[in-house]
Amino acid sequence: MGSLTNTIQAVPLNHYILLSTIIFSIGVMGVLLRRNAIVIFMSVELMLNSVNLLLTAFSVYRGDASGQVFVFFIMALAAAEVAVGLAIIVMIYRNTNSIDINVLNRLKW
């Protein structure tokens, strides 16, 4: 693994932050752009993953293992969130026969 880890030694921390920022923004764009509830959910997953990558990069940068443990907890949280969220989507589909989020605007009142 020594030669593999040497390959990252020239990457500045800013580029990791930039990559995570771009992917986070793409996730935000997906949430705003799409009307399919499942695709919106996937965009949220994309945002969570970009933050995971950034936490890992900071953890390697500082030489502190706590960041990677946080990523582990975030993954457990994401698994729970996906289970509950997809159950909610299935229930919405059963009630409205659609997963278009604009059908849910009656929740507004």
Partner: protein, 166 residues
């Protein structure tokens, strides 16, 4: 070094494809590819435990769950009506503004040090296990309660209620 930039380009490319694919199944498949590039990022940072967990949990469990849900809800072709053009424009504009603000605040930081792995076995299972079960033992136990409650909630939501129980 160029490996990082190539993989970063692939991550951005596939994540753009995720949100722009018309068919949700294609979207999920592109999301799998995106997560695969994230796994490669973890391997490049020698975070081997996270690479394996990302591979198993995200690509193995979560995306299969997405595919199963998509199979269950049986989308027909014209299921997704397109948003009006102005709303799309506003969405792209808003997300672009967010990115510009974040990048601009990043620029004010100035140049940064390169990411150097000082301790090569930082992300190995042995080291992470020691940290997890010493400093983070209570959050670890609490996360088991979280997973249990999520399981109960998912079963409660997804089962058909045969009689109205209020």
């Amino acid at each position: 070094m160029s490996t990082f930039y190539f993989i970063a380009f692939l991550s951005i490319f596939f994540s753009i494809l995720v949100i722009s694919a018309k068919n949700p199944v294609h979207s999920i498949l592109y999301l799998i590819l995106t997560f695969f590039t994230f796994t490669i990022h973890y391997i490049l940072m020698n975070a081997q435990f996270l690479a394996i967990v990302n591979f198993i949990v995200y690509m193995g469990a979560i995306l299969v769950l997405f595919l199963y849900t998509l199979m269950l809800i049986n989308l027909n072709k014209e299921s997704e009506p397109v948003k009006p053009f102005m709303v799309k424009l506003a969405a792209v504009f808003g997300a672009g503004i967010l990115m510009v603000v974040l990048v601009a605040s990043l620029k004010s930081l100035g140049t940064s040090q390169p990411v150097v792995l000082k301790n090569p076995d930082l992300g190995l299972v042995k080291n992470l296990g020691k940290v997890l079960f010493n400093e983070f033992l209570l959050p670890f136990e609490v996360s088991s309660v979280l997973l249990l409650s999520a399981m109960v909630g998912a079963v409660l939501l997804a089962t058909k209620d045969t009689k109205a129980t209020i």
